[in-house]
């Protein structure tokens, strides 16, 4: 294997840093934030927290500016010491640590560990108005979302691509893939954009004939159409569609040996397209292809290397209790 391990790790860390460092508070925060006025009682705060299943509420004046915060601990103390019917302003935490909407993820994480609070209100620094709230769960879900879009390409993958191992294993499950055992096969051997979708239409008919429910077939057909169109518009080569029908899922794999995707992260963005003008005029190239595939499938893996083609593998769960016989 080329290159040494620590070097690769450095590259990986740098790549990860690039992806996570510029996440700002306003991307992480939950914007449906509940606030309460200081002239309400702690009892009312308790009811609000119970009904909304939250563990803390920012306190805001009539202009929406932050003046304090009440947490579950404040409520417990109030119940223990019998002042639950007092006004909030008397007992709320007035020195609230808040987050500027432009603060970056790394500083926000640092705040959580330094103060040990469960939540921080996010403020517009000029108006001091509460525009959101961040809990640890919000941070986690933001990171997970980013990870979903993250494709790490390193030396190992190049080696695998060169050896064409990927052409014989499943990208989703890692199992050895017996393509000769595919239930459906279609060769994308044309380059006329007008013909795009023939394979998907054939696959649709095949799945319907196998008694798969219409909703699942629709999803498979749309995603396959998009993948097929991509091969025709972008690969400058031929391609292949394989479909495997199992009891509880359908797996579709579309491969080509074309020019590959230069920047997968960009390509995954809605509206991003490298399609030439003549196909755009026909209504293709809206930058929705990969987005549609991801939306329709339950799992999707895309592997690509410039000059070595693209492999898309998608998994569709068959609805339980569907019409499949």
């Amino acid at each position: 294997m080329k290159g040494n391990a620590p070097e690769r790790l450095d590259v990986l860390i740098d790549e990860l840093k690039g992806i996570f460092s510029n996440i700002k508070a306003h991307e992480i925060m939950n914007t449906s934030v509940v606030v309460i006025r200081p002239d309400r009682t702690l009892y009312q705060a308790k009811e609000l927290m119970r009904l909304r299943k939250i563990s803390g509420v920012p306190v805001c004046d009539e202009k929406g500016a932050l003046v304090g915060i009440v947490s579950i601990e404040d409520i417990i103390k109030a119940l223990e010491n019998d002042y639950i019917n007092d006004r909030i302003e008397k007992w709320m935490t007035k020195n609230v640590v808040w987050i500027d909407e432009n603060e970056e993820l790394i500083d926000i994480v640092e705040k959580f560990s330094r103060y040990g609070f469960g939540r921080f209100p996010v403020l517009n620094p000029e108006t001091k108005k509460v525009i959101g709230i961040i809990t640890k769960a919000d941070i986690l879900s933001t990171i997970l979302k980013k990870l979903k879009n993250l494709y790490v390409r390193d030396q190992r993958m190049t080696n695998v691509l060169e050896k064409s191992d990927l052409h014989s294993i499943s990208l989703i499950t890692g199992e050895k893939l017996d393509k000769s055992g595919a239930d459906f096969y279609f060769e994308i051997n044309y380059s006329d954009i007008n013909m795009a979708g023939i394979g998907a239409a054939k696959l649709r008919e095949f799945l319907l004939s196998r008694g798969i429910d219409e909703e699942t077939v629709r999803k498979v057909a749309i995603a396959t159409y998009e993948a097929e169109t991509n091969v025709v518009i972008h690969s400058e080569s031929t391609g292949r569609i394989y479909c495997f029908v199992k009891d509880d899922f359908i797996k579709v794999r579309v491969e080509d040996n074309g020019k590959g995707i230069e920047n997968l992260e960009l390509a995954m963005q809605e509206g991003y397209s490298t399609a030439p003008d003549y196909v755009r005029e026909l209504g293709f190239g809206a930058g929705m292809g990969l987005v549609n595939m991801k939306r329709c499938s339950d799992k999707m893996v895309v592997v690509s290397e410039v000059g070595k083609g693209v492999i898309v593998e998608m998994l569709f769960n068959i609805k339980l209790g569907g019409e499949k016989s």
Partner: protein, 111 residues
């Protein structure tokens, strides 16, 4: 609403030969970007567009559109009509533009 009633009310020209007596239209979608249509035009909807090339037949088949209504006096190429006849996709056309067609459909109660 039955497709035949819509054809009558909107004075649409029927280009394909397939029988549309029993086709029910449940909604409509107006767009010329094929991926958008795929994502949003559902089964039984009338698809209004100005795209007339061969590929619209595949799109309509896959998303299950009830018919394609070509707006603004655009013409279907003969290979599109042939393909639609083969696949059983109903092609219609109108002199109204996409906006007006959508409005008329809406007025008929297709929402």
């Amino acid at each position: 609403m039955k497709l035949s009633e819509i054809i009558e009310h909107l004075d649409l020209e029927v280009v394909t030969g397939k029988d549309f007596e029993n086709i029910e239209v449940t909604g409509g979608y107006t767009c010329d970007l094929l991926s958008e249509v795929m994502a949003n035009c559902n089964k039984g909807m009338a698809w209004i567009t100005v795209q007339s090339h061969l590929n619209i037949v595949a799109v309509a088949t896959i998303c299950g559109a009830a018919c394609i209504i070509l707006a603004n006096n655009h013409e279907y190429p003969s290979e599109t009509i042939q393909k639609a006849n083969d696949e059983g996709v109903i092609l219609l056309k109108s002199s109204l533009n996409s906006y007006k067609l959508s409005g008329e459909l809406y007025k008929l109660g297709i929402r």
